[in-house]
Assembly symmetry: D2
Homo-oligomer: 394 residues x 4
């Protein structure tokens, strides 16, 4: 087994592993082991050194098709004006669908966007001998918040410990250490800061039996009710009121029918236990995430959404989407990579002080997609179905 | 407004939009409008014609760093032997962490994988005047399943209508038309087939008041309890029994502590209303999805997971992960794109007859990641925290 | 400790424990131990022998105040005409509120009720060495359904095994053995039948490692998504269309406002992760349950509900409630007790062949209560608040 | 229709409706209309005047069989010593099962109980024109907390406004006004106080478009994740460590098997989307609620529970149950009714200053029931099944 392992082990340079040579050496190794030549993978246009801190065992790049939709008219606090949104995807019609929704909402006067809340967390669990001990600790924690905050923040420039939420069961206190994290998404920052805080707690609270740095209350890379209630990343609302006429003209749909579909979808979402009573916010979010170097696995949380609409007596349609756990960064992580940075720059969102602007643009994009697919379900799909039905009947 | 729109409209060729020239023309347009030059985006290595059907308003590529982990030893029904898994991500340590887990489970004899179920769905809602009418329709639907199946399947070569699940509320019958879809993920296929079936139903069931092709019961691009219960895409289990000694040696962790962390995480996942009681399956899944041309927005569903373990009296640790809604394809969608196809080929998973093999490899990958992060939480994280704590104290 | 236990042990007759004497002896014992004399508890009007099979350590009765609401006009398949509904509660205004709703819906032409589905279950889990073994068993189970059905039904006169739902994770097959149970609620019946079926399975499927008769998939005395999706007990819909004018006249409320409140409540229910997006169905259900000898702990499941409305252009309000897991009996359990039987008789629902009628009456009752409280929230509550506010301001 | 209504209307005295005569008159009326004579219902032992404020259209009493279990040994902060617990139920074996569990835990040294939190709420929603307006209001609300608290508390002697939780979506702020309510359950008190607070807010915040006093965030008479996370009523933990030997002796079960069943039940509860990963807490809670005059419809919320156990290396079993939303009163509501008060007195829990003691006794009772049924599932049930199986095979 040992020999086999030596044979099978992926080559790696201990001195400098982020070079074209090392990437080539690994591709060569894979060719030997699997017979597959990675030609396009090899065609990255940037210096591998740039990817240090983003990847290990670097072999090249995945080239994901990039399209652009717009102009998207945003009336935000941070994003103001027209934007061209880069979308990286392999799903045909996605860009076209978002583009169509952007046209609709631009004609309707644009999308109003608001960042409602902002928090990133790490969720340690503290275990005690009894529930009563746990409760005592919970009180102690409140009393020592200032010290804990100081310790936690000593590890980070951007992170600020906002508050500590507590949830109890058995002899365990589950905590959510909530931070603001500037323009970084902040998962690492909060992890580090909370780890240090936990060690301080352990040193100063001897009755603590044990703690785990993470307890599934964060809930990183997962969708959860707690994050839908309490925000992870940014909580953003996008809203617009669309004239009934415009929906008819551009979407070939009817707001009355759109509305009825919404009612049924709301019920469907409630019954099915979904994390989203809307249409497909994950599509737009994922495509922007890949384009701009976000941590794409956060689509798990970021896919949650609350859609809420009101049909006005005159046929106008007020529509909104609330994204309760949108995890975004304009700094750090993959944002500085070659194409990723270009895409952020295209939105005027690269670097410091831009993360709320970026969140607003994404929320506005999502709203356009919701209206576009919503309309399609009540309008074109049927036409298409007619066609197909005709075609398939002899 | 009209003028503004002409100005702002993204250029597009009605004849042939998938050329280097058109992509360049759009980048030129974006440069004019935003002042941003997309240089690295322009450096795709493949003919844009290949991306037709995958993207609109093509402007180039997102270059996502690609690393490789392995060898991963899989004892599947479809995947047998060692694999090198391509992971596209910008999250540092992800590849290293999966790699470490793969080493552990290879030494433990590999990962046993099983595809338990396979279904892709479209979920129309049928509306009636009263609940009693809805119930009558529900019975009619059962009686006419064979005809509906024939109509639905007339639109597709790969799709087979397996069954129709029904859920009722008010005067509405929510259906899930469940299909097997061969090696395609099948969302489009099932949409088309169900659209035609719905039109046939409408023509043959006059008391139907209205239907919507989708009702949030699918639940495409969302996480939901119904999909966790009833499978969307593939339902795959990966399992392994790891000797306690091995965990100590490779992970510097203790199975007893790992186990206790699991109990706390289980409770945390239950209390927080998470779609996953495990660690971070979305990380591995997303990275493989981007690398291999999957519809990455499906991370929303695919991030759901059930972790289940048993600590054996001798300290060995049985551990398993069940992914109830893993949406994968080895054919169609983005699988034929340049780097994506190479990555599928690296796994011997490109093309027809490979989708179960591919699902097994992903599940095995996920299990490695779960054990790796799980161990880190109980072992190294603390060490790291100690360091940090030390460093930050004068 | 042993002596202490003898002292503290509640007296009990091994020969015939269901007598007035034994009840008195226990009350005497409690008086000695606690100094509390149970005078009203002693005042039951029936022979304790009647309570055999319903209670142990019988000491008397809880006297719960009983009111009556009605007439309730039901247009059911089983319940037709006007009913006076007995409600046992200690919550002031409950009877009045239901009564007011019944008046509204009677004037509106009555409540249309439909039993959509009927199933009671026991949910054993079958454990195997591997997931693959579990999958093989799952197939075997399908193939042997007829035999299992025969065995299960051999233990019961009323129960019929309808089908076996299966849910898989790890090396476990979770099953729901779904029965129809006639006029009994059927929890005991299904428990017994499934226990025998499981033993037969164990005898005939040697690779089975272990099974548990219940696995939290039933989910008895708990609320769950699986029961909201798949029915436990009866799935009943009550619906009505109420003229806007009538709502104004009787409820002093406005359908437009009622409708808007509904939209907000729907969103609230979705966000809060509730098992019910309506108002207070549990109130009516609990009061009928206590009055009629149901297993009141089943309020846990029976409290789930889907409310769905549509505001018609003319201001009429279509409103419906779907109770997905209403657990009721007109035979067995507590239905034959003295006051309980009288209350069932009041509804014409005592004994065999009455359970669907009874389910319809409850659903109709619930709908009346939903409209009544819904109206109160948008109408009178405010008036009341005004009063209070005025009163409290000098 | 009008005539019909006069005929059908239940008789009622405007002067004094709570007399034996009026109750008799209504029973007479029901006899005429339905032919059913309510004889046992008529046999209440208390003066109807006592039921004023608890019921309308009083016709008599439901007589629910009452049994007693104990002694229950509680090591609480408020409940200390041995208790005999009155249980009103019609479900055979319930009292016996709890009794058996009480014996087990008494031998194990008793049940440790802790009240972790205490809050009752009313949840108004505030609507604005835009999300941005909503956010501004949210800040205003924080700034004016002291004034709002003063206004709210002006309506109540026992209620204290602890804090206001806020949840946002679209242009809506959903609030939870959290109160402590002394020995009352407090739903009415919080309703009244919040109504007045809302009117004050309306008067002082002109940009408020509309509010609804309740928005499904309370979530009264419903089970919800928000209440499982944040407490409604009392949050109580009961815990005990049971020697393996004792489980064998008293329960004829094995802690190792009990433990394995727990693991499977945990997974079942997570997959099925249950509000409770335990066995049957609703049974004990409901029986105590009926006996002691609680608002039994609150079983909907009170049925939620988190079970958590640890199997110790020596075979001892640490087991705990956390009830996150136990709604109880020892004062007000139905607690002063005849038998209800006697039952509270039996526990030494009638009147002021007793509610935490009462919550502890219930939690301890629940823990006994969880262990008892848990053991039965792994032990006796099988034996019983053997018997049955044998008996039914010729």
């Amino acid at each position: 087994m040992a020999v086999q392992q030596v044979d099978g082990k992926i080559p790696r340079s201990k001195e400098n592993d982020y070079t074209l040579e090392e990437a080539a050496r690994r591709r060569e190794f894979l060719l030997e082991r699997t017979g597959v030549k990675l030609e396009h993978v090899a065609e990255g246009s940037f210096d591998p050194a740039l990817a240090q801190g983003n990847i290990e065992n670097f072999i090249g790049v995945a080239q994901v098709p990039l399209g652009v939709a717009g102009p998207l008219l945003v009336n935000g606090e941070h994003a103001k004006g027209e934007f061209y949104v880069p979308l990286a995807t392999a799903e045909g019609t996605l860009v076209a669908s978002y583009n169509r929704g952007m046209r609709l909402l631009r004609e309707a006067g644009g999308v109003l966007t608001t960042v409602m809340d902002d928090a990133m967390q790490r969720a340690p669990a503290f275990l005690f001998e009894t529930a009563r001990d746990a409760r005592a600790f919970s009180e102690w924690l409140d009393e020592h918040f200032d010290e804990i905050k100081e310790i936690a923040e000593s590890t980070t420039r951007a992170g600020r410990l906002r508050d500590i939420e507590k949830y109890t069961a058995s002899h365990i206190i589950f905590c959510r250490f909530n931070y603001t994290t500037g323009d970084a998404a902040g998962q690492n920052l909060t992890g580090k800061a909370t780890a240090v805080a936990c060690e301080w707690i352990r040193a100063h609270y001897p009755r603590l039996e044990h703690y785990f740095l993470e307890s599934n209350f964060a809930t990183d890379k997962k969708s959860s009710q707690v994050n839908m209630l309490h925000t992870r990343g940014k909580r953003v609302v996008a809203e617009a009121t669309v004239p009934g006429e415009l929906v008819k003209e551009i979407m070939h749909a009817d707001t009355e029918l759109l509305w009825r579909a919404r009612l049924v979808s709301n019920l469907g979402g409630f019954m099915s236990g979904a994390n989203n009573n809307g249409a497909h916010s994950a599509n737009g979010i994922t495509a922007v995430f890949i384009a701009t170097g976000q941590d794409v696995a956060n689509v798990a949380e970021s896919s949650a959404a609350f859609n809420y609409g009101e049909l006005r007596p005159n046929g106008d349609f007020y529509f909104s989407v609330t994204i309760p756990s949108l995890i975004v960064a304009t700094y750090g992580g993959g944002t500085g990579l070659a194409t990723q940075r270009e895409c952020l720059e295209l939105l005027g969102c690269y670097g410091k002080g831009k993360v709320h602007k970026f969140a607003e643009i994404i929320a506005a994009t999502v709203l356009c997609g919701e209206l576009s697919l919503g309309s399609a379900i009540v309008a074109e799909e049927w036409v298409k179905a007619h066609d197909l039905f005709g075609r398939n009947r002899p």
